[in-house]
């Protein structure tokens, strides 16, 4: 009991987590698990949504310290809406990612948060950007993050193709999340998925019992 409280005081609530994003032909799928734990021992929330909307067609997934990630995203949402008013148009996905990167890089000593930003804009279509812990920004076609991602590197490398259809990509993302949640004890709960295309964003929740099962004995 004492140890658990100490962990919470020193480490804070952290999202031991699994997050991923993958582009398909015409859009992008971004998804996460829904478990928040304290010190890896106590599940403080079974149904937290780690996929946050920062604009109409731009979503972010957070990893690392929940508190830091939420604070950064709140600031980023504000910056982005201001930016979009100034530009008089929908913000580009890279704008959202850059805002996050600036915050993470300039405050790198105090923060412990990483993000996956995915979205669709008119200029470049579907894109994914990764902002890592120290503030690096790179673009990728498919990316995974969080503690649970270690276990699915092999699966993602083997199964991802850049030219999948929407349904294939959704199935790929659901499978990957289910596999990671099956092996990582700090990932679990339900799978939150958002599909972003030119026509908008669709949020899909797959409850634990409807997730695909793999060799569960």
């Amino acid at each position: 009991m004492e140890r658990r409280c100490l962990d919470a005081q020193f480490k804070g609530v952290s999202t031991g987590t699994t997050i991923l994003a993958a582009t398909f032909d015409g859009g992008v799928v971004i998804g996460s698990d829904s478990r928040a734990s304290i010190g890896g021992e106590y599940v403080s929330s079974k149904t937290i949504n780690k996929v946050i909307q920062v604009h109409d067609r731009i979503f972010c997934c957070m990893a690392g310290s929940l508190a830091d990630a939420q604070a950064v995203l709140k600031a980023a949402k504000f910056h982005l809406s201001f930016h979009s008013v100034q530009m008089e148009s929908q913000p580009q996905v890279i704008a959202a990612a850059s805002v996050l990167k600036d915050l993470c890089y300039k405050n790198k000593d105090e923060l412990q948060a990483g993000f996956i930003t995915a979205g669709w804009d008119r200029k470049k279509g579907p894109q994914i950007y990764v902002v890592s812990l120290g503030g690096m920004l790179i673009s990728q076609q498919v990316t995974i993050g969080g503690s649970g991602s270690t276990y699915i590197y092999g699966y993602v490398d083997a199964k991802y193709r850049p030219d999948m259809s929407r349904e294939e990509c959704l199935q790929f993302a659901t499978n990957a999340l289910a596999l990671a949640m099956g092996r990582d004890n700090v990932s679990g709960g339900v799978a939150h998925l958002v599909v972003i295309t030119e026509s908008g964003a669709e949020h899909i929740v797959v409850p634990g019992n409807k997730l695909p099962k793999f060799n569960d004995e």
Binding site: T150, Y151, Y153, G154, A158, L179, G182, F214
Partner: protein
């Protein structure tokens, strides 16, 4: 001021940070491993065969500290020879795994190695045993070593019971290739050993013959 920075590999422990796996199919087992041995950031051997014979039809896959793993394998090899002379026939795979487990458990504080034991015997056919930390458990397939973390998802998704020998070999090679691509401590070539009732076949697959994936 006149500090002499000796090379890392003189002081770092030699580990087979590695990827090893063994899988059972209808009539036997397939074992696979990479070939990298590292001492800190240096690769001190890029072609080491980590699949070590314990008996004619029983092999083990080494991971963890290179010295510890090799020593366990040699000791068990000797113990199995004695045992098989005593019983007058080929030893069971479970016996070999038990011998490995006994050493791993008794010396668990001093040793840091994980051996996967797999083979074929007349009584139970092909079997795979994991002996991590001194437990003994029979599994349809087992993966181990630092590279195995990256392929848990892949093997969970792709393993099916009742695969043929060729499908198993392909599965092992794919898994090794994926892990070697992601784990800094695994790499080099892939070694494969296939054991069934009739023979024990050793194979090497060189780096450029390994399967590649969408980003290579």
């Amino acid at each position: 001021m006149l500090e002499e920075n000796e090379p890392e590999w003189l002081s770092e422990e030699v580990k087979t940070g590695t990827t090893i796996l063994a899988i059972e199919f209808a009539d036997g087992v397939v074992l696979g491993s990479d070939s990298r041995v590292s001492a800190g950031a240096s690769v001190v051997n890029r072609v080491m065969n980590k699949l070590s014979p314990l008996h004619d039809k029983i092999y083990c896959a080494l991971s963890g500290s290179a010295a510890d793993a090799q020593t366990i394998a040699e000791v068990v090899n000797y113990q199995l020879d004695v045992h098989s002379m005593e019983i007058g026939e080929d030893p069971q795979v479970r016996s070999a795994a038990n011998l490995v487990r006994n050493i791993s458990y008794k010396y668990k504080e001093e040793l840091s190695a994980h051996l996967i034991v797999a083979g074929w015997d007349r009584r139970e056919g092909g079997q795979v045993f994991a002996t991590l930390n001194g437990l003994l458990t029979r599994q349809p397939f087992a993966i181990g070593g630092s590279g195995s973390s990256y392929v848990y998802g892949f093997v969970d998704a792709e393993y099916r019971r009742g695969m043929s020998k060729e499908e198993c070999q392909k599965f092992v090679v794919n898994t090794l290739s994926l892990a070697m691509n992601r784990d800094g401590s695994s790499g080099g070539v892939a070694y494969l050993v296939t054991i069934d009732e009739h023979n024990t076949e050793e194979k090497v697959i060189l780096g450029n013959d390994l399967p590649t994936f969408y980003d290579q």
